[in-house]
């Protein structure tokens, strides 16, 4: 009876760690050193990112969080402004902007329900700024979202893009938002995404005053679908993840692109500019957080794409179009 208890206890603990999303145990182990050191400081943080003479700009706050200005509209993607994501993954670099300096946003876009993209405390920080802000998210994500004093807008994603490339188009606070194909998985607590088939994930096309931004969210590569997206939209700026990667010189997995196929997405969607995201912020299990960038720099160099792809430091802003 005592032996039974011990085995049950061991298996219970093992299972609790194994069933977490994104191999939490590995992430936790890899993140142990980060809990003994402070996240690297970002110097000279921008305090006034929205400028009257700018039509299109992007400020990389870190990971998949980008503050976008499209004329008079302010949009933020996957806001992650806290020190940890999902308790175990701690930032290696602090956010590129202080939360208090982030202006009231017109639109907050959430690509999926994983901890590094849907950060409940960060939404709370943005909620305080304006109740007119619209929080846009894909279908199924409402199950992981508490209520906020914002306009909550759920958008269809063709049930995980089963057959279509786009989910739905809505005008949100004057900005045209379209949910578009992404190849990822939903869920938040492990099994719900892995085997229960939750499909809370999407990419977005953002259109305003003749400018178009593509936010890929978190995605794997598909040789046909991104080309089709490139035919459907004339994209000025693409925010495409380049990590996390195990062997960053190889193509990615079903649900994550690595640098080579991130570049392929950029080519397929025929964007004028690209901002690489989703690296350098969190210590995922697979590789050093900066590893994707080293591999991606080689790709940019060998393709002579320096003009189109600008690597930003966390906290750095790029102005793409001036008035």
């Amino acid at each position: 009876m005592r032996k039974f208890g011990k085995i049950l206890l061991t298996v219970t603990f093992l299972q609790l760690f194994l069933m977490q999303g994104c191999n939490l145990l590995m992430v936790a182990v890899k993140n142990v050193p980060t809990f003994f050191e402070r996240p690297r400081e970002v110097k000279n943080k921008i305090k006034d990112p929205i400028k009257p003479d700018v039509r299109l700009s992007a400020l990389w706050i870190g990971h998949a969080t980008v503050l976008l200005q499209m004329d008079d509209k302010v949009i933020i993607t996957d806001p992650f402004l806290t020190e940890t994501a999902g308790e175990f993954a701690r930032r290696v670099v602090e956010p590129g902007m202080n939360a208090e300096d982030i202006p009231a946003c017109d639109v907050i876009l959430i690509s999926h329900s994983h901890f590094d993209h849907l950060n409940l405390a960060s939404l709370e920080m943005l909620e305080e700024k304006s109740s007119k802000t619209a929080l846009v998210f894909p279908k199924d994500l409402e199950n992981y979202l508490p209520d906020y004093d914002m306009k909550l807008i759920r958008m269809k994603n063709d049930n995980g893009y089963e057959s279509k490339l786009t989910g739905e188009t809505k005008i949100v606070n004057g900005v045209k938002i379209t949910t578009v194909f992404a190849q990822h998985w939903g869920g938040r607590y492990g099994l719900d995404g892995y085997i229960w088939g939750d499909k809370a994930f999407t990419g977005y096309i953002i259109e305003y005053n003749g400018m178009t931004i593509y936010f890929a969210g978190d995605t794997g590569y598909d040789p046909f679908k991104f080309k089709k997206l490139g035919e459907m939209f004339r994209i000025d700026l693409a925010l495409i993840p380049i990590g996390p990667c195990a062997d960053c010189k190889q193509c990615g997995t079903f649900s994550h692109v690595f640098p080579p196929d991130a570049y392929m997405i950029f080519q397929d969607v025929k964007a004028s500019r690209m901002l690489p995201i989703h690296y350098g912020t969190l210590h995922f299990a697979q590789a050093d957080p900066m590893e994707p960038l080293y591999a991606f720099r080689d790709i940019i160099r060998s393709n002579k794409a320096e003009e189109m792809i600008r690597i930003l430091e966390i906290g750095e802003q790029e102005i793409y179009i001036r008035k």
């Binding site: 208890g5 409402e142 099994l191 229960w196």
Partner: protein, 197 residues
Amino acid sequence: MKFYNINIKIFIVLLFLLQSDYAFSQLKDENELLKWGSWLVLQTLPSPTLFDDRNEESAKIRFGLQWHVVPVSYSFNANKYVSPFNFFFIKPNKRFSGSVETYFEPSLIPGGFKNNSLKKFMYNAGVRLVLPVFQRGEYLAISLGGGYFNQQSADRKYDGVTYEAGIYSLFGMMGLKFEYNQNGLSRYNIGLYLKYY
């Protein structure tokens, strides 16, 4: 003993099946059988709990197992797209971002009580309030509750009011819970709280 060994093997096989390549293949279509089957398996995971074993002269601690069932939950923080009422299968964030819920907690003390004649099986049932502390309760939440406890010996029933307090982390999947049973022979119980959905 043989019965338990076979059960352990089945249990371990089931758990590892959930971790197999098939499980990680990110199913395109929802498989209801797999979903509910795996959820049911996870509900069988007990929480290790220490039970007070007392008589008028002395008190000892006994190791036991407790299961946590939440039949109904009302979430204070449900958004407009979801119902605030949930039954049995409840997303952790709905419970731990602030809710009031009913609970039923059967307990088993495999080695039995030695200081008193209580049976190996007992149960609590009641209502608890769950309050978020950090990250809308995903990082830290607390609970306070009360209800009815039932303990039985061979010749009589000990039942009455029970109070409980809990603290939860890891998205509400792991916590520590303390119970005080009025008029019981096993009054103070403290244990881990393990529950996936």
